[in-house]
Point group: C2
Chain length 342, copies 2
């Protein structure tokens, strides 16, 4: 059951393959009559151009690659969804790969995508990636690359990121505005840029509100899990610093801390206000529901694809506009783990 090819259509109609090809593409130098004949026969036979042949000729696959550190992850899943939707709208399909936060895997994945001749790559760097040559190399080769979320300032390409610093600033300010005087910060190791940025946002919100930064109000966990939040909470409870507010690096950390603090007899938000980060699904069902910062993953995915798409188009036309960095705005979602605004 061989597939319908242009050749077959041409044979049936007694015309040349070239004419058939042009007719389907509405070339100006083909008569309307022929166009009609070709098109209707193509329709009738359910002709589908062979994508391999097209790609081989046109040197484009209409496929892009997407590398995420994780897939089973609310935020990244949303990004992936956004990318896929936006891509589909432009006739692109998406090959998704996950690095699992491993530098070696990330490197390998990148090569797999290149081997498949994807038209461009969207990548979020693994936390463990410290050398960026693998990405720099392909950028140098002229492959359109856009970094999203986990980026590196050392890489010269377009990027889409959360405005982490501002987001953290807003969250911290929100705590202060709702009456907190001694705001603690729970975060992971100061390694990824996001951690640094949120920490800086936290600090500058304090400063702008004339609260002195106090190192002993910063609690560092090993990972960013629920258990880490749960574990660190006792230290907050026992601290002599009269902590009355917590800005946690993630919702998970916040939730863990909230549960533990409640167990220890503190009332949230009356004794202590807690705000998380990401607006994960789970924040709606904690008790009390967790105030948080919404990180619009879907939108990020859409924007990332659009940037990449533009670069792909520009590459075809051999133009080269400057790299762009898009910061996606976030917003504080007040729920009941913080006090109401006065």
């Amino acid at each position: 059951m061989p597939n319908i090819t242009l050749k077959k259509i041409a044979e049936i109609l007694g015309i040349s393959v070239a004419t058939a090809s042009k007719a389907l593409k509405d070339y100006a130098d083909i008569s309307d009559e022929t166009k009609q004949k070709v098109k209707s026969l193509a329709e009738e036979l359910d002709y589908k151009p062979n994508s391999f042949a097209q790609s081989l000729r046109n040197r484009e696959s209409k496929i892009i690659g997407l590398i995420a550190p994780q897939i089973v992850h609310h935020f990244f899943a949303n990004i992936i969804k956004g990318v896929i939707d936006a891509a589909e709208e432009q006739g692109y399909l998406v090959i998704t790969l996950q690095s699992g936060e491993s530098y070696e895997t990330e490197k390998k994945q990148l090569q797999l995508l290149l081997d498949k001749n994807v038209d461009g790559i969207l990548i979020s760097l693994s936390d463990k990636t410290i050398n960026y040559d693998h990405v720099a190399d392909i950028i140098k080769k002229g492959v359109p690359v856009v970094l999203y979320d986990k980026i590196s300032k050392l890489l010269d390409c377009s990027k889409v990121i959360i405005d982490d610093r501002k987001a953290a600033y807003d969250a911290t300010k929100f705590l202060i505005d709702t009456g907190c005087k001694r705001v603690a910060h729970i975060r992971g190791p100061l390694k990824p840029q996001t951690t640094i940025d949120r920490f800086l946002g936290y600090k500058s919100a304090l400063k702008d509100n004339n609260i002195e930064y106090n190192e002993s109000l910063v609690f560092e966990t090993k990972d960013l899990t629920y258990d880490d939040g749960y574990g660190i909470a006792e230290g907050i409870f026992k601290s002599d610093e009269d902590i009355d507010g917590i800005f946690a690096f993630t919702d998970l950390l916040a939730t863990g801390a909230m549960v533990r603090l409640t167990e220890l007899g503190m009332k949230v938000p009356d004794d202590i206000s807690i705000i998380g980060f990401s607006n994960w699904f789970l924040t709606k069902i904690t008790s009390p529901p967790l105030s948080t910062v919404d990180q619009p993953g879907y939108e990020m995915g859409v924007k990332a694809f659009k940037l990449l798409y533009r670069e792909i188009q520009e590459k075809k036309k051999d133009v080269n506009s400057p790299k762009e960095i898009i910061k996606i705005p976030t917003k504080v979602i007040p729920r009941n783990s913080t006090r109401p605004m006065l």
Copy 2:
């Protein structure tokens, strides 16, 4: 900066393209010396075969398509991860698409994948899909297709599913074994096969334990959300049936019900035991942590790919082994929303 092609390698070495090609593929009729020369030059120049040309010749893309109803979904995200990992191991890449539970979209997506000449397709049917011709058609055309999770018995192809009936049976039996006498069931509309199967499992567990099935212990919600669980709980609370156990169709439903029931003054698990379904992440952080049934998504993804892979191989060899249906076993995860086993 043109790419390295076989032609270039052949030119440099003063041999023919054909020889170069065969040398790289270790054909028996090429001298070891030539093989070595070709291979080392290929290595040196970082030669990568052009995948389009290969695909065009070999009629295979080494890409498979994956359609899921949702991506932002713990269970499906796990499946996707499993598929991608298993595929990568065999040198396959995965194009992921989401139907968003729409029949029309599902149909369109399928076509997009076909147009890209994927070597096979993994699909989980949308809840709204009632006509299966779009899938039946491509199976008939000989495209390897494996259904996973949301399947239809009407489709003649290999399938990977959760043993829903047994899982529900086990969950219900677990409630009974831990002392529940009047077990309610919360579920969505009896539309997808999974809903039916879990309902049947619930019923037969009752029967096997000499508990009469009672229609008024079955609560049907419109959707499967937290809010639906929350909303239906009052009915359970006010019921005259002395309900002391709930088997909910999903963790979300269970969590919503648990929160509401607690608000209404019931003690979980002392007054009422609750067990959910799926072992979503959130079950670990509810209070009390929710007992549930683990649905191994990752494993399902791996198995689904393996089945598909086998079919792809068989198709190449033109053999045709019978379709296979794999049921993935689940297991009850006892946590604190149910009483301890005696």
